[in-house]
């Protein structure tokens, strides 16, 4: 039983007056003429035109521009002005600009109604839902391109797309998906639930939180602009000097990662600051939910690794626009420099995409096992361990590149060491399952699938880390399958688990279970049928990103392609479910449909803008499903405690 279920009306009655210094969910204006996504689009478009004109004005006479008929400086200026225009149009710059000229920002009015989702909103709950839409946009575009890739690979020699178009599709797919995946959990669920889980009324820096969202959306436009610019031929890894040689689409790639990088740093540092400073009284480090631990580890990686990517992208942009030679060996640069910079970011990035998934699973499994999280400290230690070690492994991407051979055993060792803390996550999961009473609701099924898929992904990672085996599988479909198993099989499945689990709290509406089951089973089965054959395809010698392959591999490739189309269709089931359950035929959710003990479920429904009327005092960790007479999770400061111990949840006829 929860607070909201018990006393919903009293919560409504109490009105909360935030202190004047708190910038909670308020902004100027509210009518159609004030700033919203429409003005942002207009301002972005005007910025694009202005920047393009300016760039052409500056650099139209140079030989490179005349000879190629393409002006990278104009393209870059256009994109920069577009992003600035977009941010100004949405209103992200109002406050800093007002402060800059020495004025007080105007008093904000709290926004209401559905239009608040289309504005620069400081409420972390609104930003979380905005992020859901943004992430789904990325996912849909990237997924569509994946379908195009699999269409081309239906036949080894007959081509649907021309060679340059195919490379363009592959590169765009990879980049969009990587950008999406680095924000898919921390954006929507991290922003939404971290303050709720640690008992805070808001994020530490609400303007930075909103800024990270709108920059993330600007990143979508920048990376999408690669297509009208003619695409880029380098894949998501953007290896130089091919990068330096490519056409203007490359500018979109480099600047896209630059922009997304700014958003990632902002989001990460804001989350870290929030988790460290905004925990409610009593929320000691040993009581922090495991999801928050995972977000903290991820935030550390975002804050520390992303600057390297941003710097690397900046070098690339300089090479492409003003003809410096950071990456061109002949002129004093090095083709290894980008590889090192990129992977120094890129490998922590892999864990940016894995850790939040671990956190979600660790958070959800105890709820459906009715058991405490097994070895909570080891779960936290595993996440911190993975985060730390991830900075010391990047050269395993360069095993065959001609690095100093003496370094290879070292990086083989560090890479294999990382499987120890990753193994902790499995210990925690399996330990929690042991002798549990498991309810197989949709979120739980997705969590089980995460363990199933990530096991394959992780074990194949050990193969890749072994130098001799790496010679066989590096640069082939084996790698491709490996990281799809970890990112899609791990992170995206965990994201789905999180959505099915938390949407009832976010929107107050439950997802349809029957459609959810259809979604789960089709996604799980066809995911494995799509990607498992790719391990074999890779072992049989098919390199990545090719449009022709050996004729004897056609059967396997066709099998994989057809499964991929069905996997794509399973996302349509998800989308149908989302629309049906949330908009078309909404069913009101019980306050705590899964009977979770998490603090986020103890708030009123719908959650008031300030989250908690009184900051709760945390009494224990949120996994006390077992102990009879365990202390209540939190003291909300009212006359009666919220009893979340087993004693009050044994009625056995909950709303599962």
């Amino acid at each position: 039983m929860t607070l909201s279920a018990e006393r919903p009306h009293e919560v409504e009655k109490e009105s909360f007056v935030p202190p004047a210094s708190n910038a909670v969910s308020r902004r100027r204006g509210g009518g159609w003429l004030s700033q919203h996504v429409g003005t942002a689009i207009v301002a972005g478009f005007l910025g694009y035109l202005l920047g393009h004109w300016l760039g052409n004005y500056i650099s139209s006479g140079y030989p490179v521009v005349t000879n190629t008929g393409q002006n990278s400086i104009a393209d870059l200026m256009a994109l920069i002005f577009m992003v600035v225009g977009w941010l100004a149009g949405i209103g992200a710059l109002n406050y800093p600009l007002a402060k800059l000229v020495g004025r007080e920002a105007k008093d904000d009015v709290e926004l209401t109604g559905w239009s608040k989702y289309f504005r620069f909103n400081l409420d972390h709950k609104v930003v979380g839902l905005q992020y859901v839409l943004g992430v789904l946009l990325f996912l849909f575009t990237g997924g569509l391109l994946a379908m195009a890739i699999r269409t081309e690979l239906l036949n080894p020699t007959t081509h649907v797309f021309s060679a340059d178009t195919y490379i363009k599709i592959v590169s765009e797919h990879g980049t969009i998906m990587m950008m999406m995946a680095s924000s898919v959990v921390i954006g929507p669920l991290g922003n939404y639930f971290v303050p709720l889980m640690i008992g805070a009324r808001r994020m530490a820096f609400p303007r930075i939180e909103a800024f990270s969202l709108w920059v993330f959306l600007a990143g979508y436009m920048v990376i999408f602009s690669a297509l009208p610019f003619g695409g880029f031929p380098t894949g998501w890894t953007g290896y130089a000097p091919l990068q330096t040689q490519a056409g203007p689409g490359m500018v979109s790639y480099l600047f896209g990662f630059f922009v997304i990088g700014l958003g990632m740093m902002a989001a990460g540092f804001n989350l870290a600051a929030t988790i460290i400073n905004y925990r409610a009284p009593g929320m000691t480090w040993s009581r922090v939910p495991v999801f928050v631990w995972s977000i903290l580890a991820t935030a550390a990686l975002l804050t520390l690794a992303t600057p390297v990517l941003v710097a690397g992208g900046l070098f690339g942009l300089l090479d492409k626009t003003v003809q410096t030679a950071f990456y061109v060996t002949e002129h004093g640069g090095s083709s290894y420099l980008w590889q090192n910079l990129f992977w120094f970011f890129g490998h922590p990035e892999v864990y940016i995409m894995a850790l939040p998934g671990f956190g979600i699973v660790g958070e959800i499994i105890p709820v459906f096992c009715r058991k405490p999280l097994f070895a909570y400290r080891i779960a936290a230690a595993g996440m911190i361990g993975v985060a730390l070690l991830s900075f010391f492994v990047w050269q395993h991407h360069l095993f065959q590149s001609g690095i100093d051979p003496d370094m290879r055993p070292l990086f083989m060792l560090t890479t294999e060491l990382i499987s120890i803390p990753t193994g902790f996550i499995f210990l925690v999961g399996m330990g929690t399952l042991y002798r549990a009473k498991i309810r197989f609701e949709v979120p739980m099924l997705f969590c089980m699938a995460v363990y199933f898929n990530f096991l394959i992904g992780g074990v194949s990672g050990v193969f890749l880390s072994d130098v001799p085996v790496n010679v066989t599988v590096h640069g082939g479909f084996f790698v491709l399958s490996h990281f799809h198993y970890t990112i899609m099989g791990g992170l995206i499945f965990a994201f789905m688990a999180g959505l099915y689990f938390w949407l009832p709290k976010m929107t107050g509406r439950v997802m349809n279970k029957r459609l959810g089951l259809w979604h789960f089973w089709t996604m799980f089965v066809f995911f494995n049928l799509t990607f498992f054959p790719m391990f074999i395809i890779g072992l049989l010698g098919q390199p990545r990103r090719v449009f022709t392959y050996a004729k004897n591999l056609q059967t396997l490739n066709d099998f994989s392609s057809i499964s991929a189309f069905l996997l794509g269709a399973s996302f349509l089931i998800f989308f149908a479910n989302l629309m049906w359950s949330q908009f078309i035929n909404p069913k009101k959710s019980p306050a705590n449909p899964w009977e979770s003990l998490g603090l986020e479920w103890q708030t009123a429904t719908p959650i008031p803008p300030h989250n908690f009327d009184r900051i709760p005092v945390i009494m224990t960790d949120p996994y006390h499903y077992s102990e009879a007479g365990a202390p209540a999770l939190a003291d909300f400061g009212d006359d009666d405690f919220v009893h979340t111990s087993s004693g009050s949840t044994t009625s056995g006829d909950g709303s599962a």
Partner: protein, 329 residues
């Protein structure tokens, strides 16, 4: 109650362990003897054979891990599924929130396995002479004779003949979008065919004229990135006759997918015949090639001027850089 619980716990654990043990042993043996010998990339060279062994060892270690977790998950799905509708009773007991013995043994076992694998990998790399992967010239573990062969090749005095056990240096040049091969021990002729003698230590010197490529001779189990102005060396020893495919495994632009060709391992005498014939047939062209070197520095501007404004109209002339004639071989 606690007593009963723990025996019950132990019986679950014992059952899981026994099933795991049986499955692991049976499947590992089946894999090792039925699948293992056929695992790519086959046994055409020493590195292919060694790396296949490595893959199989890893698989035999990995299989019990996969079986263990999957079996445990399946077992829990069927055994510990909540039978009735609604929210089940919570599960208590002293080991619900953690079990020192289980935790410690998990950590110890995974650590030992991981460290053993790292040690095994290190030994394999060293005994496998780099396992066919690209590395700098003359690493600590380069095969005997390779340093001598390299020095001779660079001086233009290298020779190779059948039954001499000499190392054969072959230069692999990646360019957008084709591989070419130079044979420094045969006057430095260049060819778009890769023919190799059987039962010979081969030393691939891989370099690029433009962007990064990756030389992947699949059946030979050689993979080395081709970087501009870098000599990336990979060693292997041919052990079987046959043909093999060479692909580019690092995205290098529009025709990356079409950047492949087929090579052949032939007998030593057949190779000698082919090499001397091709050397003679290509003699005119070989004279126009730059002197054999580990790397080449064509101008980044390309043939017709361009990206970097250094003002040269004909930016790259091999004559200018290397002199006009090949040295006598």
């Amino acid at each position: 109650m606690a007593e009963e619980n723990s025996t019950d716990t132990d019986s679950h654990f014992r059952r899981i362990t026994i099933i795991w043990l049986v499955l692991s042993v049976v499947l590992d043996l089946l894999y090792w003897f039925l699948v293992g010998p056929h695992v790519p990339p086959g046994r055409m060279t020493s590195t292919a054979r060694a790396d296949q062994f490595d893959f199989n060892v890893l698989f035999v270690v990995a299989l019990p891990v996969l079986i263990g977790i999957w079996e445990f998950m399946l077992y829990s799905v069927f055994t510990w599924r909540s039978k009735r509708a609604g929210v089940p009773e919570p599960v208590g007991g002293p080991t619900a929130a953690g079990n020192k013995r289980a935790e410690v043994s998990w950590i110890v076992i995974t650590s030992v396995v991981v460290l053993l694998l790292a040690a095994f990998g290190t030994v394999s790399v060293i005994t496998g002479k780099g396992s066919g992967g690209g590395e700098v010239p003359n690493p600590l573990w380069s095969p005997s004779g390779s340093v001598k062969a390299e020095t001779a090749a660079l001086a233009g005095t290298g020779t190779w003949a059948p039954n001499t056990n000499a190392v054969l240096p072959v230069q692999v040049i990646g360019q957008q979008w084709k591989w070419t091969y130079r044979y420094p021990t045969f006057g430095g002729f260049e060819s778009s065919q890769l023919i190799l003698p059987d039962n010979t230590n081969i030393e691939f010197n891989v370099t690029s004229l433009d962007v990064i490529h990756s030389f992947w001779a699949y059946q030979l189990e050689v993979k080395a990135d081709a970087n501009p102005e870098e000599n990336n060396v990979a060693f292997t020893k041919t052990e079987q006759l046959g043909s093999f495919v060479v692909r580019c495994s690092e995205l290098c632009g529009i025709w990356h997918g079409a950047m492949f060709n087929y090579g052949k391992v032939v007998s030593q005498t057949a190779f000698m015949t082919w090499a001397t014939q091709t050397e003679a047939a290509n003699a005119t062209n070989t004279e126009d090639l730059p002197i054999f070197a580990w790397t080449y520095v064509p101008d980044a501007n390309g043939a017709a001027g361009g990206y970097y404004p250094d003002g040269k109209l004909t930016p790259y002339s091999s004559d200018e850089v290397y002199g006009s004639k090949q040295p006598g071989s």
